[in-house]
Amino acid sequence: MTQPAISLRGLTRRFGDLAAVDGLTFDVVPGELFGLVGPDGAGKTTTLRMLAGVLRPTGGDALVGGVSVARDPEGVKHRIAYMSQRFGLYTDLTVRENIDFYADLYQVPDAERPARLERLYRFSNLGSFEHRLAGQLSGGMKQKLGLCCALVHHPEILLLDEPTFGVDPISRRDLWLILHEMVAQGVTVFVSTSYLDEAERCDHVALLNRGKVIALDRPAALQDGLQGEMLAVRASDGRRALALLRSLPGVRRAALFGDTIHVTLGARERDWPGVRDALERAGVGLEATHQIEPGLEDVFMERVEP
């Protein structure tokens, strides 16, 4: 078996009494797109900063490209690119000057620059904004420019902290296309997100909650792991319906997603008639009901509150 691109071994970071990241242990295979998924405050940024060598672990270790972040944080820096949640762009420099500056920092040879620049412009569509000040770009374009700056030195491993946070849907899609292209070129991409729909694009995901991994697998495997069948139910009085559903035998789980309740049953044919009758007896009107495939959100909810 090949050496993992990233290997976390009990990686821990405490802030006072609080363990922001608590004993993470898992491997990331070279050339895969790995998603670290969890709500705000789960410890995603702390984990990424430790992997990038800017924050020291208080316990455990991680090998990034075979280099220990605890013992040689400087050594890690040559192997990776790290894009923080708010990627720092010099707003008073142009798009081109920003990219050039990062190319300079990583000492990209002059001979290779035109080709790399052209490639970066191709997938980011930033070429026509080359001479615009970074401060005058839209949010999505800023993120793309940040990604270009991070990628200019051809890192083996790309660490991205919520790259699509606050980005419009079209730019989000563009960013993911770029990530897939990077993976196709053999780069290992480690990305954190709080959008569970995005996590489904990853090869593997680790679900993180309160500093701990609560599930780790392929997204499809995690979804398949959910027992039973799932119905999406829209009721006239969502809250009362939810309370009622949770009290009924035959309902394994019920969780509210917006105005829809996801109801997990052991088997639809067997359990649903009884549940429906109970709701109607209680005077809860059902507006729509259809069977759905469980998503990662359902997995997450199930793991967080079993």
Binding site: V54, P73, G88, T91, L93, D104, L105, Q107
Partner: protein
């Protein structure tokens, strides 16, 4: 750990970026190069402790030619200007209370008679002590003028009385060395230069690192192979260049506009200025590396700058401070630099006289910058 060796290529790129950012914004350019000149022009005129045309109130009970001659002697000096007169002492008090006048003079009845008879004559001076500095200076001028008038009148009376020889007096002629006219501007403008250069040095670096921290670029620089020392040098060198240009600009204004004499060696001024600028930049960098926001850095800079001015001897002579405070002033780079600039400009002092100050500035510059660098390294981890 690798050695903190500097990579000239990477450092050069950082320098290019810093200069590019500094010079791109026309507002920043004005702030860096025009503001110091304007400041020196304004402060150069403002920083004067000379008393001229002080408003004076006269209460003359004597109404004699002698009393009129005394008033004329006061106004002829150019230091005093009569802006009010009355026969009632209460009016004088009221004018002082209102702050309309700085000084009041009351000449009693019998003034001329006493002088003519060779007796001791008296005059009362009242000054507004709430402006202690000016009051002191005015009182000094007035006392000198009045006592000279007394001597002259005494000699006249003695001559008329037929005495062969006027009463022996001491012919006291004081002459100020180095600043012959005792113009406070000559003394103050070099000091203003010093404070402006310090302010610019602090401004240039105190926001440098924290600005990158705020916009998030610092974290990106941290994950790049750029070393902390390279970052510090990259931030400091452009600031040294700009602060030094500012020094040349304000020196030009001092010499050409204010006509401040320059008696010393340019080399002494340049060397000590570089050390001084380094100490200012070091303090700025230290502030910048420990601050989380630009606002915080700005506040800290102010908390350093203001006491540094007060303790520098710019406005209040260090020799007059309590001994304990005098020791504290030794930590103030501005204090040492003022000794150097005043010495170089006014006295033509050279290495042999100024070497203690120049050495202290060197030690301060290196220590503070070194400390800022190590502090910065710790915040990285």
């Amino acid at each position: 750990m690798s050695l903190p060796a500097l990579d000239p290529g990477r450092l050069g790129q950082l320098l290019r970026k810093e200069f590019r950012q500094m010079l791109r914004d026309p507002r920043a350019k004005r702030l860096l190069f025009i503001a110091p000149i304007v400041q020196l022009l304004i402060f150069g005129y403002a920083a004067t402790t000379d008393v001229r045309n002080a408003k004076t109130f006269v209460v003359d009970h004597d109404r004699s030619s002698d009393s009129r001659r005394l008033i004329a002697a006061l106004t002829a000096s150019g230091y005093f200007r009569v802006t009010g007169a009355s026969e009632r002492p209460a009016d004088l008090i009221a004018a002082l209370d209102r702050g309309d006048v700085l000084m009041g003079i009351e000449i009693p009845r019998g003034f001329a008679a006493d002088l003519g008879a060779g007796r001791q004559a008296s005059v009362q001076l009242l000054v507004d002590g709430s402006t202690a500095n000016t009051a002191n200076v005015a009182l000094g001028y007035a006392t000198r003028i009045i006592s000279r008038f007394g001597l002259e009148r005494g000699a006249e009376v003695a001559a008329r009385a037929g005495a062969a020889v006027p009463p022996a007096g001491v012919d006291f002629r004081a002459r100020a060395w180095y600043n012959a006219n005792l113009e406070s501007r000559v003394y103050n403008v070099p000091a203003v230069m010093g404070t402006i250069v310090m302010l610019m040095s602090l401004m240039l670096t105190s926001l440098a690192v924290v600005r990158e921290r705020e916009i998030g670029t610092l974290e990106q620089l941290m994950v790049s192979p750029l070393k902390p020392l390279e970052l510090i040098v990259g931030k400091t060198l452009p600031a040294v260049v700009v602060a030094f240009l500012d020094l040349i600009l304000v020196t030009g204004v001092a010499l050409l506009w204010f006509g401040i004499p320059f008696r010393g060696s340019a080399l002494v001024l340049i060397v000590s200025s570089v050390f001084y600028i380094l100490s200012g930049l070091g303090v700025g960098l230290l502030i910048s590396t420990v601050s989380n926001t630009q606002q915080e850095a700005f506040m800290s800079m102010f908390f350093f700058f203001f006491p540094a001015i007060i303790l520098s001897g710019f406005m209040f002579p260090v020799e007059n401070m309590p001994v304990a405070i005098q020791y504290i002033t030794l930590l103030d780079p501005i204090r040492h630099y003022l000794v150097v600039v005043r010495g170089v400009f006014l006295r033509g002092a050279g290495w042999s006289v100024l070497y203690p100050q120049i050495l202290i500035l060197l030690v301060m510059g290196v220590t503070v910058l070194g400390f800022a660098t190590t502090r910065f390294r710790k915040t990285v981890a």
